[in-house]
Symmetry: C2
């Protein structure tokens, strides 16, 4: 094993920082070091934290760090900011907010400004989670800004996803799409001392209930049609498998509601452990971790191996001698045949 990997496994903060930088810079050999750490990972609980800008995600993350540190756990934090061209201030803000943990050797905070990175935010996040897991984090908080596909990809890398909202953002709850309901395991209505907090909680709970009924309509009608089966057992099974995302009110700036939120997170974790969902989630996470690396490597390899033909085809496209689709089909065929 690479000496750097050994030091990471011993919990060495500087070695961990160095490995993360090497991964960022795509230093030769970094992937092998990461690969050698894999057997020592899988112990960290990964919580995705997402929501609109302004909902107070960073302050809540900061409070969760403090909570888990009081419980004596090593905490990893990954603050993802895929929106940097226009919102360059966000990362700096995060860093300032979480500064108080900077001298705590039990906390490792990593900012990921991923604009322009090869392979994008999913790959960098997956790699960072693995390193912090190997470093010894018992919980890894992955904070992202709610910006589309990256969001959903990152949720697939987490054991649980917490969606943070703030009251008084008007149509917020209605604007939430099915995609968010699918990934949300827990909701926090932060800044709950503001007007409209209870209305936001109510709206969310109604939406969760509705989403749940739609999802389970099939199961219930099945239930009614098989009178011969053990109805009570089936009901219990449905009840045990069910998880209605709880909505927790917090005021992160005053540390209110954080314990209740942490308790809800723990209940969700216990729920996963006691049902088949935990196993399914484990497989989904592995599938996603493989996918992001595979697609990254495949594109890398194709760009490298076909650099010449790609450039020649681009010139033909520019000269309208061929259309991009036909040119791309030919390039894919060429690559797939070992060209």
């Amino acid at each position: 094993m690479h000496p750097l990997a050994e030091r990471v496994l011993k919990g060495d903060v500087r070695a961990t920082a160095r490995l993360l930088r090497a991964i960022d810079d795509r230093v030769e050999g970094w992937s092998e070091v990461l690969a050698s750490l894999h057997p020592h990972t899988g112990r960290a609980w990964v919580l995705g934290i997402t929501g609109n800008p302004g909902a107070g995600k960073s302050t809540l993350t900061d409070q969760l760090i403090a909570h888990y540190r009081r419980a004596g756990l090593k905490v990893g934090v990954i603050a993802v900011d895929p929106t940097s061209p226009f919102t360059g201030g966000a990362i700096l803000g995060d860093r300032i907010r979480m500064q108080r943990h900077a001298l705590d050797a039990g906390v490792f905070i990593r900012s990921l400004a991923t604009r322009g990175k090869l392979g994008g935010v999913s790959r960098s996040t997956a790699d960072s989670v693995a390193v912090l897991d190997a470093w010894g984090a018992k919980i890894v908080l992955v904070e992202t800004v709610g910006v589309g596909q990256d969001e959903l990809d990152i949720a697939r890398l987490a054991h649980a996803t917490l969606v943070v909202m703030a009251p008084g953002m008007g149509d917020e709850v209605q604007a939430i799409k099915a995609g968010i309901l699918e990934i949300a395991d827990l909701f926090a209505v932060n800044k709950a001392d503001r007007d409209g907090a209870d209305a936001t909680v109510r709206d969310l709970e109604m939406m969760i209930g509705l989403g749940h009924e739609l999802t389970h309509a099939g199961a219930h009608s099945l239930h009614h049609h098989h009178q011969g089966l053990d109805l009570e057992a089936m009901k219990l099974k449905i009840a045990a498998e069910e998880w209605l995302p709880p909505v927790v009110k917090t005021v992160a700036s005053r540390a209110q509601g954080v314990e209740a939120l942490a308790e809800a997170i723990a209940r969700h974790r216990a729920h996963l452990a006691s049902t088949e969902k935990g196993e399914r989630r484990r497989i989904e996470r592995a599938r996603e971790a493989l996918r992001v690396v595979f697609e990254d490597l495949l594109l890398d390899e194709a760009r490298r191996r076909l650099a010449g033909p790609i450039e020649a085809a681009a010139m033909q496209v520019a000269g309208h001698a061929v259309d991009p689709y036909s040119a791309a089909v030919a390039l894919v065929a060429r690559f797939g045949q070992g060209a």
Copy 2:
């Protein structure tokens, strides 16, 4: 040629809408139809319009539509919203704002909500631009929200990029990163009737000047070191090749500054036509159009052909029998050898 393609080339709005939907739904054969249109494209001028949410991009876009319609040009509009999970309201807003053009057969407005789409926003945008070009648009406005990598990719598909800002957004200008300076050909300071508009213009112009000096420092020192060369000719050449992004003040809600902005856009277009930059930009656009299709097709093909092995590898990763990196390397090798 496919009958649908023929109708698109004749400017049939319904056929164009149908083809765009077919592309969206990845209907069998759509790519071939698109490919057959390619020889008939390249006539539309593509203007990317980007900037922070709240800067008034949609209102300004609406005014630019009106301007080009007064000039008798067919206008295509693509409103890209890659941020849908949390900002689902944005698209609806765009549609409402541009509604007044809905009955104008010379305007085609397309909303792209690309979350979860295979190939992502770049591919969909490139395809939509090609279709609107074939439909007969003389100008295609591509409006995007400022959210990272997609932004930059889309800029590469455009002939020119307009960055819209609003005054009084505090650190906005300072938060702008080099990436934006690289892609911006024009700036609009919209809502210029608000306090701080002049300061924002000043800050922008200072930043542009600074960026310009840094970029051209090399050229100037070269200039000084080759006294034997024709200095005057070189100066003229530098002057002709130079383009300092102009900063135009607008109040889109009252149609102020729109003519001046359109004039700046026209000047930029003339600048490209009169320098080698135009040709370079054309090749860059072709390269980008090819890249998005190629990467999309390659990933599609790999997922399809390796579905079984990928799933088997994911199970091994889940069982910690292999790490994601080693599994991915094996899958890439397998695909590259025609497996």
